[in-house]
Assembly symmetry: C2
Homo-oligomer: 922 residues x 2
């Protein structure tokens, strides 16, 4: 039996369809599909991926049947179009394109105009009535074939073309006439001969054979192999080859080409959107040399083509049930469609269209949820420049809309200045020629980032998007002089401190103050706009409702204040997954109390140890202990009511939702000043000598504080601090429960690596809680608290079974787990992590999106071991990965109960959690 | 069928034996054994661990048969001894002792003289002819029974005793006469009544029942439970109870007691060794109030008993095939043996005896190997004070021999001074009242440590033993004044800088210079003494030969210099497992070259990146690059020949053994000065501005350098440095191979966490090696190098299968693996790790002995995954754990191919590796 290696698509017959991606590649399957549903696709055929596989595994030989099948298909094509391949009088011209089952952009260029040669040039001149067109087509073909198929250096051709233009004294290709192009062709022939050792092939079959082989070969070129490795593309057999008859939009004024979208890709509005150019090829529209016209103008220019396009828009959306991005060509008044694909869209458009299409009955809710790019979803909540404010402001220039959101502030020119001004409470816009890794601190401190150089993937753009900071990049009209601290645009000069506003949605840059507003959805959530007045909010709310129906993963928030907690609840948080108590010590007078404690803590600890060990004069040491121990206890008593009040307000804001409270975590030195002046001030404030402050700071200094005296290690050294915190939690809970509000406090012991650490700390917490309850004359179950731990040390993952026996819950601290698991200090890794991502060592920054292979394996191990030891164990994650869509997807698969993330990330996590369910079910 | 819960031992019959430890406990089994072989053991019986198990699981009830079996045994005992239990005229007195299958010291005290009461006191007075003895026995029994069995506070009794002594104006118990002791007994009775609510029980059966229950109960007291948890003692059913007839060494001048060793426990010489006291009880010998006589004096005092003892020595050694520690009592001229157990011994004695006993045919070689305490084995190689030097020096005092070895140097009084003086090249002895964790740095810098306070387990003693530094602790005669910087001993005052010598083997402290010599074995190894003249070396060499026959684990050394390599080879190292190349950069002029490189490296890297990315004016940047790139290459060319020469000499010293060379590992800032003065000097030396040096230091600063820009991350950023190193390795190998010496270089890429890192670095290393060989016109296999990696990042363990596919070998860096796996910074963990060990969280410092549960699990995982992916993978360990006996044992079980440790630890590792094989086979 003969295997079918060639699938025809055309009026005569169409062998393939959209479900045959594996065999025909994405492009081939789609061309067949469009042909089937009656769209005017230039006919052609697809050579299967199996043919490619055979070629790759048989030393570049073709399957026996292939040549015959190609010849037969060409002969069908010839009949259908009434032209002959290689016919000197009426030549059939072809395009040859690769197309694998998974899109691999840039793997191989396209060869157009194949079949043309010196021998049929005259026929082409005659048929098109346009000798220049014929010569230009030949020139383009020679260049593409030479470069793509035969590896002739691209710039050899460019240089030849330049020399002819220079000879004529012109600049643009279009200024060359037919005679000039004849010279170019002659030069190209010489180049080809010199580089390949053979004359340019006149035989179209030879051209086709070599082009097909070049596509086959491209499957295994190092770039493609690497691309598949990096993108984890496995199990494919090769690329398909699409051979299609040529149509020309540049044959004259009756011809043209364009690109259109079936809906508005920026707003999602249900309007036809696009642009076109007459007498042009596709690349002319993209290159931007001529300005294309809006698609609606085509109605005047060519009513028939326009009506056909409108009908096609309908057909395609109904058929593909999604917004399409269509390339079309009009050849001598006749419309052809060359490609349709899913249209790229903003997240606003994605949201609007997804909900609309469900209402239109085009798609179901699950499909709608999958249509929203979760990784960009929080653009919906980015602050925006006030629209009327923008109208009144002076538009300076327009750059790339590199990271969404609006920002306004004083211009600064260095990262250091940005940090300093921000510390002084000022809003700043960091303006740089381009940013580099050393600027990270300043970028984080700034409200927005503006650069003169760099594209959508420049450092500034990538980092700003990662941070969620507005950014306008590559605003090339700006002359930024960091030394002089000026920005010059035309005649205007801005200096340090001058106010500018940037719009990361549009790329606009304004001089002067523009009001920055919450996004529309945030305004509705905060009650500033009634929900009924916001269409966008309605769509958002509908979609979130669907997400919540679908998802099984809980979503909590990381919040340390009642304000953040309230906002997170508005965003749909189902509880607090991480309340960092140390942040509470930095407020107002509390720092003073805590510093007082720190200054005596080590002395208290050491004296107690010596008394316990019985070394030295016990009475004398007990005497020495009195003073510092008094200060120690006094500081705790000062902190206690403040902590209690914080917890009360958070419990009230949660209104019955659970709250995971982490006991003090950071090393103590973080609470002390490290500069001389600050130390002197502290000494004066505390009434001690500056030396004693310096001594304490030095004693607390650590070489690697990340792995130093912190987390539960503090609780083990200074149990009274943990006791104070637990007491505050339980007493706050008692107060709020008595108000009639349910409270579910979960006390979390950080940085546990050994079950024995948790055993000791858990006992301390339980005894403290029991005492607090009995001191209040309450039964032990009056507050239903639980005690668990963070899993953030690699050792805790391998020992998770033992640790689970002491824990009611686990919460993964994936930031620290990534640091210790990968051996990257987050504060220092900037120096090499970017290189790592660039070199392809890590696909993504493992601090932004969880490293599934490595750190994910630790998570999975801990979940399995923990649940095996204690099936009821509740497991969540409170690292920043909880707000990253890809990571949320992983956590769902790993079987976690919930994720916790910053308030503004809660909707992202809800959506990603729903998508994970849908994806898993497919 | 009736179960047997009581096992009798005596002349009548003996039910048990040495193999019944599980049922009778260690002590019970041994008492039965000694009775069986005809030794004069006071008869008695053992209640089984199963009885204890029944008691524990049945609410404190005895098995039905137990009471009857006890009564029957007592009745046999009564018959055998001709006394009656509770007989007022001729009372049988008993001792009651616990004894589990595994020794659990301190779990429960002993109750002696049980059976005595007011009612039979007169009989006892009459029988002993010694009223004071009878009263004293009663007093002691009341105190022990009250304290141990009934929980009456110990100090209540002590206070009563003191009051009687005070009333009489005497200080010692022995100064009290019978009348005084009657008063004491009366007071004791009151105390007992007051504390327990009942009068002291006169009924011996009541005394016995309560004592047995107290022993049973002690099995589950918190202290014992904790002890078993900590020591991982599992699967035992309970403790046995040993009830034995009393004998008295304090009945008069015909009685006595003593302790002896069947050989000399400090040298191992085959001589009878021990001491005794007449008219005394065991505790008097231990308490040191009276000075005991050497055992040989007993020949004069009581020839018969002495001859019996000599015969017993023979019998016991033949029977137990090991040196025994014997407790004996002579009651009225009759010899009794109360206990025999394995005698504690120095490592010198252990070595001598083990080899002797093999030669005597007492034990086999495997037993001999197991007899040597591997953890102390390297005391054999500790430096010693020259014997004749000691004779000429002034002996100041004698303290505890807390850590072996001899040291001599200038007295300093603070850790800071110790470090400073040591940096200035001086040998110092750190003298402290007692040391504390802050002193660690100074202790490491000092040649030896001397303290006035603290015992064998004091901080100074423990840390010094851990470091292998000589230490004399608790030299109480010394008055150390750290403020005045003086040591006063009697009239003599020593000041800072005065020379002292300490002998950690003997505890001696000398004033003035005493020559420090290599240990005898090291002198033989270095050729300073002919092997034939050293008996000790002969024994050592014999034992090591046996170890090498048995072990399967290879032993290599960590050495960076030819000198260390040579020494390690003498110690039996089979190769270098870790050659740290960075140490080579600190020598002589090399630091300058490397610093020059560092000062330009970052700039070179950044410019190259920008040129590659095409951002900015390429020509301009290429121009800017020229200068720094020139300096960069020049520095590498300066370093290259020096590195090459180092490798050549190491290869020569290894003479065919393999050598694992680690590419540059530490962060670059470690190579730059961090003080202002050093930075200014460097700037002057390099001809650059001080600011630029400071800028580089600041740019290289890291918050957590342990997890920063180091290891293979340096090689990925600065590939030329790795290239230079690999080239030096291969070129050195070529040179040495051409000399006719085999060279086996193993190039090791450090700090790999991701297979892709290794893939890139391996390619670089292979290409460099291939180029070096082909540049020399040599075939690729002229040098048989291999390329592998360190496994020291937790992620590398979970990804070990993928990493193995890129590696010829793995070498575990267990130091860093412990740091990252447990989340402990080694430099900082001192602050809490000691507390952790004290609290029982970690049993041992995980940096000294591998944390088998946690870090061990990572090792096992990596071995399994690595070998599954590549069965031929060679696996070793090069962390400092490679020289720790317990860790070596683990590495053997984990299936490693070799361990690598510091040169002086090589013999320890060889021995421990052999012991691991023997242990595994048992």
């Amino acid at each position: 039996m003969t295997e079918q290696f060639v699938y025809y698509f055309g009026k005569t017959r169409t062998d393939g369809g959209r479900d045959m991606r594996a065999l025909l590649g994405g492009k081939g399957a789609n061309l067949a599909e469009m042909t089937s549903i009656g769209l005017p696709v230039p006919p052609g055929f697809t050579i299967t991926t199996e043919a490619c596989d055979f070629y790759s595994t048989h030393d570049g030989r073709w399957p026996q049947e292939l040549e015959d099948q190609i010849r037969k298909s060409i002969s069908v094509l010839e009949k259908e179009l009434g032209r002959g391949f290689g016919d000197v009088h009426n030549p059939l011209l072809l395009s040859v394109r690769s197309g694998a089952a998974v899109s691999m952009p840039g793997m191989m260029d396209t060869v157009l105009n194949l079949g043309i040669s010196m021998e049929n040039l005259d026929a082409l001149k005659r048929m098109s009535g346009n000798p220049r067109f014929a010569l230009d087509s030949l020139r383009r073909f020679m260049q593409m074939f030479g470069d793509v198929v035969m590896g002739v250096p691209h710039h050899d051709f460019e240089r030849a073309l330049e020399s002819v233009k220079a000879g004529k004294g012109v600049k643009l290709d279009t200024e060359l006439d037919a005679g000039d192009l004849e010279k170019v062709v002659a030069l190209y022939q010489d180049i080809y001969l010199k580089q390949t050792g053979s004359p340019f092939p006149a035989d179209p079959w030879e051209q086709l054979r070599l082009s097909i082989n070049a596509v086959f070969d491209s499957w295994n070129n190092p770039r493609a192999v690497r691309y598949r490795e990096l993108n984890d593309i496995r199990g494919l057999r090769g690329t398909a080859v699409n051979v299609q008859s040529m149509v020309f939009g540049n044959m004259g004024e009756g011809s043209g080409t364009g690109v259109c979208f079936t809906r508005d890709p920026s707003t999602g509005a249900d309007v036809f959107y696009g642009e076109y150019l007459m007498n042009a090829q596709g690349e002319d529209v993209v290159a931007g040399i001529r300005t294309p016209h809006p698609i609606s103008d085509l109605a005047q220019e060519n009513r028939k083509a326009y009506d056909e396009l409108i009908a096609m828009r309908e057909t395609l959306e109904r058929h593909y049930r999604d917004m399409q991005d269509i390339e079309f060509t009009i050849q001598d008044g006749e419309l052809f469609i060359l490609q349709t694909r899913r249209g790229e869209r903003t997240v606003f458009a994605a949201l609007n269209m997804a909900v609309d299409m469900v209402e239109e009955g085009l798609i179901d809710k699950e499909t709608a949820l999958m249509r929203i790019p979760a990784q960009n979803f929080n653009q919906l909540f980015a602050s925006i420049l006030d629209a009327s404010g923008k109208k009144g402001a002076k538009l300076l220039t327009r750059g790339l809309n590199a990271s969404p959101g609006g920002a306004c502030g004083a211009v600064v020119f260095s990262a250091g200045d940005a940090e300093e001004w921000a510390r002084a409470g000022k809003d700043v816009i960091l303006c740089r020629q381009e940013t580099s890794p050393e600027d990270i601190g300043g970028m984080a401190a700034a409200r927005g980032i503006l650069t003169a150089r760099g594209g959508m993937t420049s450092h500034a753009a990538v980092v700003a998007r990662g941070m969620g900071a507005p950014c306008v990049a590559g605003a090339g009209e700006l002359v930024i002089d960091s030394d002089a601290k000026t920005i010059t645009v035309g005649d205007l000069v801005l200096r340090e401190g001058d106010i500018v506003a940037i719009d990361g949605f549009t790329g606009e840059v304004f001089a002067g103050e523009v009001k920055v507003r919450d996004s529309e959805i945030v305004q509705v959530l905060k009650g500033a706009i009634p929900a009924s007045e916001s269409v966008l909010y309605g769509k958002y709310s509908t979609l979130m409702g669907w997400a919540d129906q679908v998802r099984t993963l809980g979503v909590r928030t990381n919040a340390d204040t009642p304000k953040d907690t309230e906002m997170a609840v508005l965003f749909g948080a189902e509880g607090v997954g991480l309340c960092r108590t140390e942040h509470m010590f930095f407020e107002g007078g509390r720092t003073k109390s805590f510093r007082k404690l720190i200054l005596v803590a080590e002395r208290v600890k050491r004296l107690r140890e010596r008394i316990r060990a019985g070394s030295g004069d016990t009475a004398e040491m007990e005497n020495q202990l009195k003073g510092p121990e008094g200060i120690y206890r006094e500081a705790l008593e000062e902190l206690y009511p403040l902590q209690k009040r914080d917890f009360e307000n958070i419990f009230r804001a949660l209104n019955g939702r659970p709250c995971t409270i982490r006991l003090l975590d950071p090393p103590l030195h973080e609470f002390l000043p490290h500069d001389r002046k600050g130390q002197e001030e502290l000494a004066a404030e505390m009434g001690v000598s500056p030396t004693s402050v310096v001594d304490t700071v030095n004693a607390l200094h650590e070489f690697n504080p990340m792995m130093g005296h912190r987390g539960c290690r503090l609780g083990l050294s200074y149990p009274e601090v943990s006791e104070m915190q637990v007491r505050a939690v339980i007493e706050a809970a008692i107060t709020v429960v008595r108000e009639g509000v349910k409270v579910v406090p979960e006390i979390m012991i950080p940085l546990v690596g050994h079950d024995e650490e948790l055993r000791i700390m858990r006992r301390l917490a339980r005894e403290t809680a029991e005492k607090a309850l009995s001191d209040n004359g309450l039964p032990p179950d009056f507050v239903s608290y639980s005690i668990g731990t963070m899993i953030e040390i690699p050792r805790a993952c391998v020992m998770a079974d033992r640790i689970a026996s002491e824990a009611d819950f686990f919460s993964f601290g994936t930031n620290d787990l990534t640091q210790m698991g990968c051996g990257f200090s987050r504060d220092d890794a900037g120096k090499f992590l970017e290189d790592y991502v660039r070199m392809g060592i890590y696909e993504k920054d493992p601090f932004q999106s969880i490293d599934e292979d490595g750190i994910g394996a630790f998570v999975t191990m801990a979940v399995q071991k923990g649940r095996r030891a204690k099936p009821s164990l509740k497991i969540g994650v409170c690292g920043e990965h909880g707000g990253d869509a890809a990571s949320v997807n992983f956590f769902h698969r790993a079987g976690l109960d919930y994720v916790s993330c910053s308030p503004y990330r809660v909707p992202v996590a809800r959506l990603a959690a729903a998508q994970a369910v849908i994806e898993a079910g497919r």
